[in-house]
Subunit: 465 residues, 2 copies
């Protein structure tokens, strides 16, 4: 997905104007843009320019500036804001919907955040408090508490009138219907409201078949449900089925994006970052990578132990060492393929833990076929080379058979380990994406060596060994 | 994301009823479910049961059955339908919105599909033809051609009346405004329509700042725009800016899901599958994996060449071979980390190709730090072991320095190769996700060996070598 040329050009202009300090021109240029495009520009500017551009805009059009800011990652947005006096902070944050406000507050220093909260409008203050009491990564935390709901006894006509008077409600496409104790009882689409006679009570036109989530539902599950039922928003209820908020599809897309980023980083063999790559401080980045890298290194040390075990054989037939990287990497590669297939199939629900047996039978077959294929290619390579060079000595045929035979075993084992590990992790309550390519490769390398040298010691006994 | 327990139980009941052939009970059970849940059940049934369950439902409630079927992958849905007479096929398919209809038609055998198209209602026939003329994976192919649009001279009151009379329009939340040549000129939200006096002309209340895509826009770009601008739908225009269709956010979520699956499979080092894992025929699956596996194997053969080059050194000092897997796998692991970070950062637009230099400076530093860290751990391992066992001979200190030194070089090189490869691929117009963990590992293995043996030949000259 190439970034559109237009924002590249815009970024260049903005940078130029910032550099010469032409703030009037800058303001003029920015005000003509969509807040989302401004967010993209801010994201790509160096931090001090980012702050400068935001200040220029905020001074003249606070709401617009905050709208753009709220589309940045909240930590990035908070960093732009921190240096201001708390009164100004409260004023600027007051321009935002409550969910965005709460997200930014969390990233401000605790002391600043507490003082800003005291200065907020009463209604915002309560709503922010309500949001922040819920666990992170749950529906209660990402929902918008301002949800448009009407009592079931109202008529369609009254509903339209109520809608006309409603002010700051974010997005309305469904109207949620509640009973007199605020229990969620149904939903009416805005369109349906227009299609019935004005005196029809809501309870006669509402659909009672409504998908909702609880405040404790994990955001990943919220995203799954919105995607599954193709809804534009999902209502959030508390433990007593009282309607307390709404998660809209645009927030869900952000959740899907974040969860995917996390999965891909885990698959790559590092801890998931909390912030975008470019904003992650250098030492945080190193730490997130180092931990897994060291764990893998410690695991991989077993290869040195295994190799040490076969040092005598290697000293006697150095030609054996020549094929070690080839053989073990093939196991790692086939394992990485199988693992990524399973991680994704589990994530989208194509397979569940209950299918492990069905998958295993299939993967055993795949492993045998793929192993045999690589075995043949490897055999041919050694055979052909031996016709032209004397690289592999007089026993080249035996070497070729050893390599080919080990490849079948190693690829089969790699495929099996790679495909079953995600199931085992999921079963153990760990994210299957943790079975990263490097993790599987490490697992397979040690056993690959043992397979290879065992085959060799059987086949080459009396000749090379 | 654990599959909800409820559908597991439902699946068990459905399977039991299918097994005993209790079709009346089955029908009764299925009709009480949400079509989306039925789709999930169908997806998880064995193919012959899937067909049987669908038939039972379709016989009594064709629309409902087709609604569930349209939520399967189109190839899966088509497989359920194929065995029917074309007249019945046309009748069943006629129950679907045009975009779903077209998607299914494509997966029917060509001859069947042509005959079904002849039997469709006139309006569907034309619309399907229009859709299928566009390239695959473009907005023109996934859009719904039935878009609710009104002329700019209409008033708000007339618009509401038109809305009330409109029948089969899929989802309405925005009303698109067109001029007398069907050029897209603006958009009005349904809500805004209710807030203004009925006699206000649409052109006075519409927003002209409208994000649209062309029929040729790649679906990935469509998804990016919908996510970026937080819209619920995006209008599709032809080359003359005439409004021809609409892509809604639920389709966009499907696109995001499919593109993610593709990315993760590529990162795992195989070709992306066109169908869900469980439905991919065995030999297709093997082929998709075998191609990359063989390419990687051929690349990895260079390690045998490199090792062959150092065979003499290995014969002289077998202890060197012992650390080969450890050293080269560390390069592969650090490369896999860097590549997955960059692939994702590029995909979500956190960095662009223009940032490569900034990223490279950062990654060089990371590589040095991580390499030094592993070097220290490796050095300690060899030192400690040598105090207790005589594994590494009298020159263990030199061996330890060799391994530690090589690790710095190999990890630095792995990090650099892993982080820059995605940029290079993107620059060359190839999907950065192609720089899979196995691909990077293979690239790094050969150079890792050269680094290791070069360091060894310098440090160990005159002692071990």
């Amino acid at each position: 997905m190439a970034a559109p040329r237009r924002t590249d050009l815009l970024l260049d202009s903005v940078t130029r104007l910032l550099r010469v300090g032409a703030s009037a021109n800058l303001l003029n240029l920015l005000q003509k843009q969509h807040p989302t495009d401004i967010a993209e520009i801010l994201r790509r500017l160096q931090p001090h320019y980012r702050r400068m551009a935001f200040d220029t805009l905020a001074e003249h059009n606070a709401r617009f500036a905050m709208q753009a800011l709220s589309e940045l990652e909240p930590d990035q947005g908070a960093a732009v804001l921190t240096h201001r006096p708390v009164e100004e902070l409260a004023r600027l944050l007051g321009e935002l919907p409550v969910d965005d406000l709460a997200a930014l507050l969390e990233w401000l220093p605790d002391e600043v955040s507490a003082r800003v909260r005291d200065l907020l409008r009463g209604s915002d203050q309560g709503a922010v408090g309500d949001l922040l009491q819920h666990r992170e990564w749950t529906a209660g935390r990402i929902m918008n508490p301002k949800v448009f709901a009407l009592f079931e006894d109202l008529t369609a006509g009254e509903a339209v009138a109520a809608l006309q008077q409603s002010g700051g409600v974010e997005m309305v496409f469904y109207i949620y219907v509640i009973d007199d104790r605020r229990h969620l009882v149904g939903v009416v689409s805005l369109r349906r409201l227009l299609l019935v006679p004005p005196q029809t009570p809501l309870k006669h036109i509402m659909s009672a078949d409504i998908v909702s989530v609880s405040v404790d539902t994990e955001q990943e599950e919220v995203a799954r449900l919105v995607a599954k039922y193709n809804v534009l928003a999902i209502p959030v209820v508390d433990a007593e089925n009282k309607l307390v908020g709404l998660v809209t599809v645009d927030d869900v897309i952000d959740v899907i994006k974040d969860e995917t980023t996390e999965d891909i980083q885990k698959i790559g063999g590092l801890e998931a970052l909390d912030e975008p790559y470019i904003d992650t401080p250098f030492w945080t980045l190193v730490k997130k990578r180092a931990r897994w890298l060291v764990v893998l290194f410690l695991g991989e040390m077993l290869t040195a132990t295994a190799m040490g075990h076969y040092e005598m054989e290697i000293a006697r037939a150095a030609v054996l060492a020549v094929f070690v990287p080839l053989v073990i990497s093939s196991g790692g590669n086939s394992g990485s393929q199988a693992a990524s297939l399973m991680i994704r199939a589990l994530a989208v629900g194509e397979v569940t833990v209950r299918d492990w047996w069905r998958v295993m039978r299939r993967e055993v077959l795949s492993g045998v076929v793929l192993g045999a294929l690589l075995g043949v290619v490897g055999f041919l390579r050694i055979t052909v080379w031996s016709q032209f060079f004397d690289t592999y000595g007089e026993h080249w045929l035996l070497v070729a058979v050893t390599v080919a035979g080990s490849l079948v075993g190693v690829v089969l084992w790699g495929t099996l380990a790679g495909s079953m590990l995600p199931f085992a992790l999921k079963r153990a309550g760990v994210d299957p994406a943790t079975s990263s390519a490097p993790f599987v490769a490490t697992l397979v390398d040690v056993t690959g060596l043992i397979i290879y040298f065992s085959v060799a010691s059987v086949l080459l006994k009396g000749t090379l060994l």
